[in-house]
């Protein structure tokens, strides 16, 4: 650190420090109170509100590789601000990628005319922008009963942003994608610490790659992507879980054969037939397991935490609902443990891939009132009342129930 830097640092700590740093103990207590009910007990022993550069404090489940969850309070709007957006990495060697000199290589045996694309090239291509939920496949893993190993996420490994970028199909057209192409695979600039650890590479079916909503995004909510969300560009696969949304994208591999890496199999699989999913990934499917694909219909109460104290009388409970891109048709609330249901009021529609806000006025009596929520999408899919248990803890869309005390 230079003398000049040190002076800035010391001289400004009093001014900036209070806002930036909470005392360690307060931060830890604060973080433990922000965990979703039901996650493994051990998390509270170390969890803290971590402060990554460019981010508000997030629930720090792990700092290497960085895995930071958004507390409920950051999920009260249909668009999640960039500095409140969750962070998820598998591997800890994460370079700070510069826009200058950045290139994406597009090649593979399915590409007749391989080429390289700079950030400027990408920005010159026809641009599209839409809001879409980015939800980690493992969101709510920590709520699985019994618990299953992995990053023990609560409710907040998700967010919704407006993504702007170029269509992948336009990039693939430039690469002369052959009709024999079955999958397109993606690699980011981040990598493993140990050479033997499989690099994080993901593929999607050719038909999904050609979907007009699959884009290479360079803007998130009107700004460049934050470093920790994939700067300078990431793949956006709306409707599908975050595992396919490759950050720091540097390689597009157009393939006439299925990608055979660890992160496609055995990782990120769900049992065949367990979930009511329309989007199948046939070239990666075997007799018993299939890649996770579209997000299941789900909802979350974000206005109140479980056990919140309220005043007796009218209490407005609100939250978010979302799905794999069919769109939310209906959100219902029950205050009698699921016997009877009443429609909640749906808020602004930011598109079929976005969070749909909803609200409901509960008449809170003295004592306890339970509030349960269930979303239905445009093809009639609803949430489940009992967990569909699977070994990786994916697709937990059990109807949430909280208790309010007046």
């Amino acid at each position: 650190m230079t003398t000049m830097d040190r002076r800035f640092f010391l001289g400004s700590t009093a001014a900036a420090g209070a806002a930036v740093l909470l005392p360690g103990l307060a931060r830890a207590q604060n973080a433990a109170s922000m965990l979703s009910p039901g996650v493994p007990d051990g998390i509270a022993s170390y969890v803290t509100m971590g402060k990554l550069p460019g981010k508000q404090p997030l629930i720090q489940l792990a700092d290497r590789p960085p895995n930071y969850e958004s507390p409920l309070e950051y999920l009260q709007t249909p668009i999640t601000p960039n500095d409140k957006f969750f962070v998820r990495y598998h591997l800890a060697d994460i370079p700070e990628v510069k826009a200058e000199g950045f290139k994406i290589k597009i090649d593979g045996d399915g590409a007749a005319t391989p080429f390289e694309l700079t950030l400027d090239d990408l920005k010159k291509m026809p641009a599209v922008e839409f809001a879409a939920v980015n939800q980690c496949s493992g969101n709510r893993r920590g709520l699985s009963k019994p618990h299953v190993p992995g990053v023990e996420w609560g409710y907040g490994a998700m967010g919704c942003a407006k993504w702007k970028g170029a269509r992948l199909k336009d990039v693939l057209a430039k690469a002369g994608m052959k009709k024999e192409t079955v999958e397109v695979a993606f690699n980011g600039a981040d990598g493993p610490v140990v050479d033997k650890t499989p690099d994080f590479i993901k593929s999607i079916p050719a038909w999904k790659a050609m979907d007009e909503n699959t884009i290479i995004a360079y803007e998130m909510n009107g700004e460049p992507l934050p470093h920790f969300n994939g700067f300078p560009v990431r793949l956006v696969v709306p409707g599908w879980t975050g595992t396919y949304w490759m950050k720091h994208l540097v390689h597009v591999d157009v393939r006439t054969t299925p990608q055979g890496g660890f992160w496609m199999k055995p990782a990120y699989r769900v049992p065949v037939g367990m979930f009511p999913l329309r989007d199948r990934f046939i070239t990666q499917e075997d007799a018993t397991s299939t890649p996770i694909t579209e997000i299941v219909v789900n909802s979350l109460i974000t206005s109140h935490r479980d056990g919140a104290k309220v005043k007796a009388g009218k209490v407005t409970v609100s939250g978010l609902a979302w799905d794999g891109g069919y769109g939310i048709n209906r959100v219902e609330v029950s205050t009698d443990g699921g016997k009877t249901w009443t429609d909640a009021k749906l808020g602004q529609d930011l598109g079929r891939f976005a969070f749909r806000p909803w609200s409901f006025d509960v008449n809170a009596k003295r004592g306890k009132t339970t509030v349960m929520v269930n979303a239905t999408n445009a093809i009639g899919q609803t949430q489940v009342s009992k967990l569909l248990f699977n070994g990786a803890g994916y697709h937990n869309n059990v109807m949430q129930s909280i208790t309010l005390t007046a």
Binding site: Y46, A62, P149
Partner: protein
Amino acid sequence: MRTIVIAAAAALLAGTAFADEQVIKLKPGPGLDKVENNCQACHTLAYIPMNSVYLNAAGWDAEVTKMIKAYGAPVDDEDAKAIKAYLTQNYGK
């Protein structure tokens, strides 16, 4: 100017926090040294308390085996045995 100074200080503080990793103090016990020597090369020790307490001996065995077989962690057999025993004893059910 003031804004610039504060912004610079905030960036510095944030940078410092990022460089200085959270220290995870695991429970003392036989094998802790093997855990510290082997596991931290690739990831924070936070993954251990995070995944507790719910795994039994077979569960921790499977996790350590996964780290070696699937993720290529260079852990020798003797250390792996000690790590499994430590995790089961201190973070197992």
